[in-house]
């Protein structure tokens, strides 16, 4: 993909890759350029911060997929001004821990949360946002 990515998908560990793929499929189907990063808010915080500093110059929407005490989406939302979409992953407790860790953010730092394991909806939401910003999709 040679175009500048409009969407950044960030996951905290390789075990989230399968879920990320579902988001990628939707973005590919709509011809949205994106990039995928594996960066944990807890274990690769420095690289994550560096990546956010740079990517926030071209990325329009972030999609963060995370399980357990899922801090990644909120962390991103606290460092960029773009909309951040959070996808809770069911690792334990049917994903309820991840859902609450993502959606119950304090005022001022919103995360646009979608359903548990529903990475597709993460992508579909990103596309809705890109569309009102005037970006073209192929579908």
């Amino acid at each position: 993909m040679t175009e500048r990515p409009l969407v950044s998908i960030i996951i905290g560990s390789r075990s989230d890759l399968e879920l990320a793929k579902k988001a990628e499929e939707v973005l590919n189907e709509f011809c949205i350029p994106y990039e995928l990063k594996i960066l944990s808010a807890h274990r690769n915080q420095k690289e994550l911060i560096e990546y956010l500093e740079e990517s926030k110059n071209y990325v329009k929407v972030y999609i963060a997929i995370a399980g357990l005490a899922a801090h990644l989406p909120g962390f991103i939302a606290s460092r960029v001004e773009q909309p951040v979409i959070g996808v809770p992953r069911d690792v334990k407790l049917m994903g309820l821990d991840a859902l609450l860790s993502i959606v119950q953010m304090p005022s001022g730092v919103p995360v646009a949360t979608v359903g548990i394991d529903n990475a597709k909806n993460g992508a579909y939401l990103a596309i809705r946002i890109l569309k009102i910003a005037g970006f073209k999709t192929c579908k």
Copy 2:
């Protein structure tokens, strides 16, 4: 406010007005033109559909606030192509029923869910979306 509204706040009943006010405060603070509608997906569906048909020509982001079996945000998302933000309201069960009714949408019809009773974050999220679409805010 004479400008065309960019944001539409929709609530299902007058009892949601107090929560809507918190979203309004944030939008006012950022000088975002908006309009507020009281239209239930169950009791005023016809008016709601008519309003959506018209408003989708100028509204950029919808914010829907609802409690209990909170179908309003999903209903809107199934009828417009814009991003729809859902704010679960705690009417019963600490708002867990509303949270799940809003966030667990089927693939293809995403709702950008924020925290329970957190209408402010609904507004903050709308502002993030408007900003990447190039709209100016006064803050």
Copy 3:
């Protein structure tokens, strides 16, 4: 089945078919004429509305089976005057999301909710309703 259907079973997607079959078995056992439709409240709303407009002239009871943010039963209940039975399906969260999305309806738009994945009870409840309305069953 050449008789006019008394019961309409509506499911939101093909993945609900197996559960629908359990309801069908009970209705067949009692010789209740019924019809089955696959119509999502979110993805086929227009067709669903058309079907409801027509079927409400002959259907006596609706059975709607749905998982996740299960809006289908409530949607039907808001558009017809007949009793609507909701069957929550366990797709995620053990079906708790579907149960709450179906049962916690606002006042004025009731859904007669039965147990999670218990489509049989949906059918048994329909039969109880038909019986007090004077319809004959073969059992």
Copy 4:
């Protein structure tokens, strides 16, 4: 009310009276004749059985309101063939115990469950059932 009651509202203790009143208001508004009984499935089982034996000759729909381990609706459903509507009351645990005790009935003994503390919907559901059975309402 001199007419034969079409609806029977049964509550397990006097503490449920306030909730019963909400159902009564709706039934009165629609001119549906009803009767109200205070009979616990655990403490007045004999009287309850006697009442059910008699009332099932004229009652068309039962509405049972109960909290905690709410066995009343299921008990009635196991002894009459009419539709039984269960209204879970929030006495403890936000009413979740009552909701699950009412809705999760075994196959063959369905209870038409409505929302927690939502006695109004219990009445509205009864009216829908009466209507398809040909009974007239004044609204």
Copy 5:
């Protein structure tokens, strides 16, 4: 077993048999005479009542195993004066529905509840009760 049973194990359906066997093993190990009945509070209420009327003349402790909206233990407790032990079975919702349906009984009709699927503890508790009543065990 030729002795008069001291313990009665009652289950609502054949699907509870496996769990009942765990209670039986413990009772056998302690040489406690018991009998096992399959009688649903909802589907065989008449037979259940007859059995309770008779067995309450010789049974010292009842153990009732049930899943879903588990009314069986409470039903027994409302008809006999002996201690009734309730064992919640995980059929749906990890057994939470059964646990709450059994333990949250109204004042005056207690059920001695043990852990989910823990029929062994049902038997161990029965043995503790029998011991203080002076019955001998072989272990």
Copy 6:
């Protein structure tokens, strides 16, 4: 009360006294001699062990009332052979933490659990147990 106590009510802290009183009322009503002790499993373990060593020579049933991570009933059950009744108290989380900490005991160490805050049922259950052991009550 000059008779030897048949029931021992144990609470972990003075804040449980109000709930203990409800159990006492029932026991008094039935003329059951009892004693009340305030002994925490965590903070007064030595005194608790001493008391159990002595009281197990005359007490027939223990009632333990506890909130939060309610270990008291299980602790007693592990040190005496008598039946131990556990009453979960709602201090946090609506008493769900106490309920699960009491009822989910490992096999071999059963606690007869009653409803949340339902100390009355704790006493009623104790009376049922005493009755089959041949103790007289005045009611």
Copy 7:
């Protein structure tokens, strides 16, 4: 307090001050020098990082108190090598969201979680840790 603080109490907003006071009382009682900071992981991340960089040279244990999607304790644990104690605060959902957001950390980044709103136990745990590290307390 002129001594170098051994404990650092960090809260995300002024609304957590009351809970922090309970931890302070215990630390004062044991004569443990501490300092209190109000620094949100989401709103003051830069200051928080600066503070952690400096304080990790003298602080032995961190206590972080947070509600909702409580990321503060985990954030600290990802940036310092000292033990971090997390105290979930009940702001919404009885504190379950905070509990899960704090305790369900990914492997490698542990947070020592104590009970909901139980800031005292946060302090008591800190004292246990300081004691095995050889620090003296006055009690």
Copy 8:
């Protein structure tokens, strides 16, 4: 391992061994001497007390792994002054019963709780504590 153990891992039954192994791996990796004991708070209380009396002279941190009504960590915390780390194990209810039984300890008897089944984090937390106490690790 010839050195005096710094960490004691205690589990209540052999079924917890697999989880214990995960903690052992981490401790081995960091060259922390430890010992592993299988001692139930309910079934081997006497041996457990004896072991704690002795081991508290050399152990610096206890790690207790337990499922269901997990009283083991709290029991240890009530008998030693060292920090006690509790690891909830998912045996039933996704481990929620164990989590609440461990974390919701009364004030004065803290347990440092880590995530469900996350024995690794139990070990990592022990290492953090040992490090501030000046113990060397090989990593």
